[in-house]
Symmetry: D2
Subunit: 272 residues, 4 copies
């Protein structure tokens, strides 16, 4: 596919030397590999090669959502692809899913969810911060997702309008404060997930979920490690990400019915 | 939503005591919690409660793909939700994606990918084993995915018919044997991923990818750990899954152009 | 070395089929591999082979502390070798170390520490439970460590008699309750470590350590994974231990002097 | 304990701002926290406080082996405390142990092992590189370990003189080339461990061990993660070490006797 003027291109040399930019006429990027004539990419095929003024190879890669997320500046505030992907798989997210999101942020996660749920599904997202909502609005327009995401600048603690949602994702510092509102919005046995960076948050969220008409409550962490796979010398990479976030999953069920989970569920034979 | 006759229901007591079954009249399941009158679930709401003959609580949960996968018998042969979800997020899979799959197996992964790519996308899957293809065909029908998945009982080593694919997933014991065929099928800078259970496979696959017109080659492992999140006593679970599979990602680029990755890319300051 | 009568022998077939027993005349062990004539091991060399009545191979292995720990019954209450070894390495434990231990348990850890600190060092251990102390006393005799371990059936909250200790290890449910007493017992910049199974415990312990004249406070978890290393098929094992315990390390310093650790210390560049 | 002239001191402000140096008169260290008058530490107590010219707190910490290792320059070549400690615990290393080491390097590991094995034990270490042996010799003198470590500048492939060793540690790029020589040197059922950074090395080593009169062969990796334990905000650290090395353990047994480990040993129930 030819690169259009104004399209985003990932200029890729190696995993640590790559740049995400718009293909605009006359644009040049000065790097230690030489100058990259970005304008020259217009009309070239994705996957083909541009060379810097010093002859270094730059592959023209069509960026995916993953590339956009990994090149974003506010790393500490993003939800990583491993966590987003697992949320989607774990909650059964698919075309047609009706998704409630509490905590819009920059709309990066709403964009990801909408890209899966569309065209028959929809994301209803809530936030109270007008500055964030403005950024989110622009990001959704840039991503072409405005038809599939409805933004609500409204305090979800007051309740949300939606009903019979398939999935609810909560990204707040205190997710346990919206469990009733989300319960009302979910369909019977609908999927719940909270994004909780700290142990304190999963403890409070899981404890409150048990009392609020949710079952199958499970807190998870996913760790990702890169492997250096080279002929005769394969081993894991020397550094890795230590933590991104915990995820707390649950299913909406009838209220005021509780099942005591015996300690047996956790005790298992341990051997080193 | 009311449970229809013939619909699948997850009968949930606790994470370790649950059963996945069809709601059929007269059906009963004998468990150590008492007898579950499955037929009585017909017409009840998902999320509501059925009690066993001994008064134990059974929540009626609408199963997601995750529930189906986790209750499947051939555990050692499934691709886990954490890996499926990451494949989707990492490759930018979404509605409209044109996906090539080499190695159909039971069609579980094709079903998952199609559920995301539909209705504008499509999965083209290849396998040579007639027994598997037959099982896969039935599974796709059961899952209602036949419109979005095209099965090919054809040896992919002979080449595949598709072109301009967005994403290619290879699930073979020797993925390095189809790199050229997949290269031809992918669009420029299209995403490649191989499912490789052993280190030997990632070593061979990554080495061959480098020589076959692919860039941004990365081998990954995702580890998942359950946290016991309880008031005053939060800690990780005593046992965890040690390994499911490695994943090797890459992007199709122009052939015969190579970038030497300096050892610097990997050397980083290490501190305990 | 020849096996003496009464000596412990690890009868080893495979990692999952092994028995730890005393070599006593006439003793036989019935296993699904056949009957093992344990008495026949007396006078044989460690490392040599005994065959069961069905001709299966049993290697006669001289048990190490590791073998004893891993064959102990109360798995959930042991401190694992990976954690014990790290405590020793991290605190600079060696011959001559003067070690204070709060929480004797079965004396397994005191035995391990004494085996390193002897003959010039010593372990001073405290517990209040007479039943445990009795078991501990017998275990120390069996292990031949009574010269190097002094037991105190005395509530450490009342203070401990020792001074100028090199290392203090606290294995209590509420380690933050003995920080002052341990501070008094340690030499200047002596090493402290608390064994804390839950996140609640490390949070409380670390918080109190900061206020109690300790610096270089670090909470750690060590995860261990077995690799299946086989020709052409190397990969991690499918299951692994998810958690044993957290360890909180610190150094005794002057009281009432505090250094604010800037948030910078933790913020680092994160990349997937 | 008072700081002697010429003694090593760890000048500690925070985990990321610390300096390891000798207390020598007139010495000053210029840091961004101000100037540290190192000479003034002489005669002060370990654990007490020195302030920089800008009033910042510096704790005077008595360095342990751990502190020395972690401040060493050649990070990529050290064996980490978590691995050293586990080697000691796993092999039953203690006072009196007779230890064979193949691959002396800088003598850091020989120093650690000798500190545990002394005074009744001994380390016999082999290397062929005269430059390393010279550095090693000086390090052993500095550490005061020359009585407990015998250095051999001799190619271990030619065989080693020692017999009846309790433990053998091999730190070579090709450990499988010395298995017979080490077998001859070990006592019956003596412990073997190889330090293997890559998957290729554990595969080759484990495969050869099986054929060379060793049993209970186990390949391990230990991962270490720091926890940020703070009131109300406890979570794992954002970054962690991804890999240091694999360790391959085994026990010397009679040669030419083999036990087939059934695949059952590895297959276990897997659940996400």
């Amino acid at each position: 596919m030819k690169i259009q003027e104004g399209a985003y291109v990932l200029l890729f040399h190696t995993p640590r030397k790559k740049w995400l930019t718009k293909a605009v006429p006359e644009k040049k990027i000065h790097t230690h590999l030489g100058v990259i004539d970005v304008g020259a990419a217009i009309g070239m095929e994705f996957g083909s090669v541009l060379r810097t003024t010093e002859g270094n190879v730059i592959f023209l890669i069509e960026p995916t959502t993953h590339d956009f997320i990994m090149k974003s500046e506010r790393k500490t505030q993003i939800v990583y692809p491993k966590d987003l992907g697992f949320i989607a798989a774990r909650t059964g997210m698919k075309n047609g899913s009706k998704i409630l999101e509490i905590g819009t942020g920059s709309a990066a996660t709403a964009t990801f969810f909408a890209s899966i749920a569309k065209p028959e599904g929809h994301v209803y997202t809530y936030d109270v911060n007008p500055a964030f909502m403005e950024i989110a609005r622009r990001n959704l327009e840039k991503a072409g997702m405005t038809d599939y995401v409805t933004m609500n600048q409204h305090d979800p603690h007051q309740g949300v309008a939606e009903k019979e949602m398939d999935i609810a994702i909560v990204d707040l510092g205190d997710p346990w404060t919206v469990l009733d509102q989300v319960h009302d919005a979910l369909k019977g046995s609908g999927a719940f997930v909270a994004i909780c960076p700290t142990m304190n948050q999963i403890e409070k969220t899981a404890t409150e979920l048990k009392k609020s008409g949710y079952a199958d409550i499970e807190s998870i962490e996913l760790m990702i490690r890169v492997m250096e796979a080279r002929e005769g010398m394969t081993r894991p990479s020397m550094r890795m990400i230590g933590h991104t976030t915990y995820l707390v999953f649950a299913r909406k069920v009838q209220k005021k019915v509780h099942v005591e989970e015996t300690v047996d569920d956790d005790e298992e034979d341990t051997e080193e």
